[in-house]
């Protein structure tokens, strides 16, 4: 009996060969966008309230392996298919034609996107540890397809990625076999049932291994180095898809294994040194540092894609923070932020790639003044950065507000201050992005630039609508967040259409939006009625000190942005993590040279004697001891 989940998985599977087949023509690509719509429809038909089981189940090596999708997986799946659909639509028109001519393999691009979606759906629908690991590894390797496509810098970045990803995967693998040894089964229920009776040593091992493994995908500190370049250098649709959702699979894993299966009560048993520090406390600080440091790394980037990539890492910290606090408001904020981040991050990356599509560069020192040339893209990026910075009325504000609120209510003032520092960095760096791309002086070579084609702007603007609507009426998403919270055994948030209702402080975005627009309206009326003495001039028509400036004179700085601030905080950028990583690689190289030295001996038989001697000594030692 084929259920709705099977239909979804089958559709995703069938779309892979179709993608490879149809990706080369424009109409074919729109057909593939329709295929995502079909998958989205099939997903919506699933009932998220009760877990949907797949008819597909195996008995493999003594383990029952099956798939089922509960509300948590469903929530992530909606974001996954949505991101993929928008990415596919964005690339369907002119973008693919231009890049296809430049040698990009469109078949691999679209097939890779669909493979990623299938792998993630398999992960999100996992019903036991074996299917979880299958989904996990497939997701890791599928991401590689999209990352490798661009060639050049992307290859180095993806090699780095895959080493991290395998390391994470193997850590999960270790967690899996140790769970089996401790619990005797690889079913989710078995761990859930046995967790209270496990000794702390075993529980530490299981929790730590799974969380570490999933953290690598999340790019939590100290595993954060790989993500920004790996996602940034992927081709546009790949980058926007990966940047939106891929890293969140780690969050899904943590929510599933740590929160749902092991459970908060058991997690709180895990403490170090006389209850001074416990695992959750440690993780909250990891999350906060992940929110801060990458954000300030992002501020230094001069490649718009990398800037956004580093923000993706930082925002992951907020989500982890919310989920680990795990109270009603915080966990809802963390989960909601997954959706919100996916929407505005997709907008921002699409806007940046639209600029690349027209100008050929994402170098923030070589752009500027494009606002009149690409107004729609500008509008999209503006809405995107308002979301990313967490300002009302966009949706990023809601989720961040919930996390702040939870931190204050639960009494974590230090964490709160830390997240505020992170937000400060976010605001500064997104302004840099907007300013250096769209504001300031127009470059002479960009004078003939015009707006990106509709096939690229329409998906962006649609996403802007989503960002705005879910910002003004977060209840639309919060109902699914509440269901997801329930699915992992947390108290669901009490939501209204406009936001949150709680005794410690409510939030109604409908009111806030209304007031904001009223304020904007009053400002606009004042400006146009009372002021309004403005005259349009050509962008290249510039004067300074009464002197005409020719267009090739660079008078408006974008290079060395925030020079004063950077001068103050420069000593903090030590590159300790880069240094540690390269030290580790060097150490591996040294060990490797040593191992090679072992094999490349002048006298081949030497080790026979040494081996015999060592073994004999061991035997003697054993005989005596």
């Amino acid at each position: 009996m084929i259920g709705a989940l099977d239909m979804l998985l089958l559709a995703a599977l069938a779309a892979i060969p179709l993608s490879a087949l149809f990706a080369t023509t424009r109409s074919g690509r729109w057909l593939l966008v329709a295929a995502y719509a079909v998958q989205f429809g099939l997903l919506i038909m699933l009932q998220p309230a009760t877990a949907a089981h797949s008819a597909l189940s195996f008995q493999l090596l003594g383990n029952a392996v099956g798939w089922q999708m509960d509300a948590l997986g469903w929530y992530f799946a909606v974001i996954t298919i949505g991101s993929a659909g928008f990415a596919a639509a964005y690339a369907a028109g002119e973008w693919s034609e231009v890049n296809g001519r430049l040698g990009l393999s469109l078949r691999w691009l679209y097939a890779g996107l669909q493979i990623n979606v299938l792998a993630m759906l398999l992960l999100l629908a996992s019903g036991d540890f074996v299917s979880l690991f299958i989904g996990w590894e497939l997701t890791s390797w599928a991401g590689l397809i999209l990352m490798l496509l661009a060639g050049g810098d992307a290859i180095r970045a993806s090699l780095r990625y895959i080493v991290y990803a395998i390391a994470g995967g193997m850590t999960v693998f270790a967690g899996l076999v140790i769970t089996q040894a401790a619990v005797g089964s690889l079913q989710f229920d078995a761990l859930h049932a046995a967790a209270p009776s496990l000794g702390t040593g075993r529980l530490w091992a299981i929790a730590l291994l799974f969380i570490l493994g999933f953290s690598v995908k999340m790019a939590s500190m100290p595993f954060h180095l790989w993500q920004a370049p790996a996602y940034a250098y992927s081709p546009a649709p790949g980058s926007s898809f990966l940047g939106s959702i891929s890293a969140r699979m780690g969050l899904f894993g943590i929510a599933l294994v740590a929160i749902k299966l092991i459970g908060l009560a058991q997690l709180d048993r895990l403490s170090l040194v006389t209850d001074l520090v416990d695992l959750r406390g440690l993780l909250t600080w990891v999350a906060v540092f992940t929110a801060i440091l990458p954000t300030f790394v992002a501020m230094r980037q001069n490649d718009a894609r990398l800037l956004l990539g580093w923000h993706g890492v930082g925002q992951g910290g907020y989500m982890l923070l919310g989920v680990i606090i795990a109270d009603r408001l915080g966990s809802a904020g963390g989960l909601l932020h997954v959706f919100n981040h996916a929407t505005y991050q997709a907008i921002l990356l699409m806007a940046v790639f639209a600029v690349i599509h027209r100008t050929g560069t994402a170098d923030l020192n070589r752009l500027g003044g494009l606002v009149t040339r690409m107004p729609l893209t500008f509008l999209a990026m503006l809405i995107g950065i308002i979301g990313l910075a967490g300002l009302p009325p966009m949706n990023g504000f809601v989720s961040k507000w919930m996390i702040y609120r939870a931190l204050i209510v639960d009494g974590h003032p230090l964490l709160f201050v830390a997240t505020v520092i992170s937000t400060l960095g976010t605001v500064l760096s997104v302004y840099k992005l907007l300013h250096n791309t769209f504001l300031g002086q127009l470059r002479l070579e960009h004078e003939q630039i015009h707006e990106a084609p509709w096939s690229m702007t329409v998906p962006m603007l649609l996403l802007c609508v989503v960002v705005f609507v879910t910002g003004a009426a977060p209840g639309l998403v919060l109902q699914y967040v509440a269901a997801a919270q329930q699915a992992i055994g947390l108290e669901p948030v009490r939501y209204i259409l406009g936001g949150i209702e709680s005794p410690t402080g409510s939030l109604d975005m409908l009111w806030i939006t209304a007031i904001l627009f009223a304020g904007f309206g009053i400002g606009a009326v004042l400006f146009y009625l009372i002021g309004g003495r403005s005259r349009r001039v050509h962008q290249l028509d510039n004067y300074a000190g009464g002197h005409f400036l020719t267009a090739d004179v660079r008078y408006q700085y974008s290079d060395n942005f925030y020079a004063g601030l950077m001068h103050r905080i420069r000593p903090w950028y030590r590159g300790s993590f880069e240094w540690t990583e390269s030290a580790l690689v060097s150490a591996l190289g040294a060990a490797s040279t040593l191992a090679r030295g072992f094999f490349e001996q002048a006298n081949p038989a030497q080790w026979v004697l040494v081996g015999t001697t060592v073994i004999m000594t061991w035997v003697m030692w054993y005989a005596l001891g």
């Binding site: 490349e600 002048a602 006298n603 038989a605 030497q606 026979v608 004697l609």
Partner: protein, 156 residues
């Protein structure tokens, strides 16, 4: 008296093996290495013989009329016979390889031969050897010698 001979035999067997193995490790001359191998094998064979030997028994050859006599355990002797045959075969093969190495590299020094082999393998694979090409002449890979060189290796 028998135990004294036995002791000598045992010490001899172990000693031969040790001498052989030590000789193989301490020498860099291909031919001597083969000889050392032969010595080590002789030691091992002797030990195997001793494992089944009885001093008060006759050789395990079945003759008419002597069937009741106590005999030495024939199994180890049969094995040693096999081992000797195998050993001779392996040594012959080793010697033929030594000749081939000498023909190709004009040396019987293991260190030189190994270096030449490494260089040849690296070159065939297109991997630049890690040693500096600007180093002193002795450090550089030597040009391949022709087969007519008479006094090639240092041990010839």
């Amino acid at each position: 008296m028998n135990w004294a001979i036995g002791l000598v035999m045992f010490v001899g067997a172990v000693g031969l093996s040790v001498i052989g193995i030590a000789g193989m490790l301490m020498s860099n001359h291909l031919f001597r290495m083969v000889l050392a191998l032969a010595v080590a094998e002789a030691g091992a064979n002797l030990l195997l013989i001793l494992a089944g030997y009885r001093w008060d028994a006759a050789a395990p050859i079945l003759l008419p009329g002597h069937s009741t006599q106590a005999m030495v355990d024939p199994v180890p002797q049969a094995m040693v016979l096999t081992a000797i045959v195998i050993g001779v075969g392996v040594q012959a093969l080793a010697l033929s390889l030594v000749i081939r190495v000498r023909q190709h590299y004009a040396t019987l020094d293991m260190r030189v031969a190994r270096q030449r082999m490494q260089d040849a393998l690296d070159q065939a694979a297109g991997v630049v050897p890690p040693r500096s090409q600007e180093g002193p002449a002795g450090e550089r890979p030597l040009p391949a010698p022709t087969r007519t060189i008479e006094a090639g290796g240092p041990h010839d």
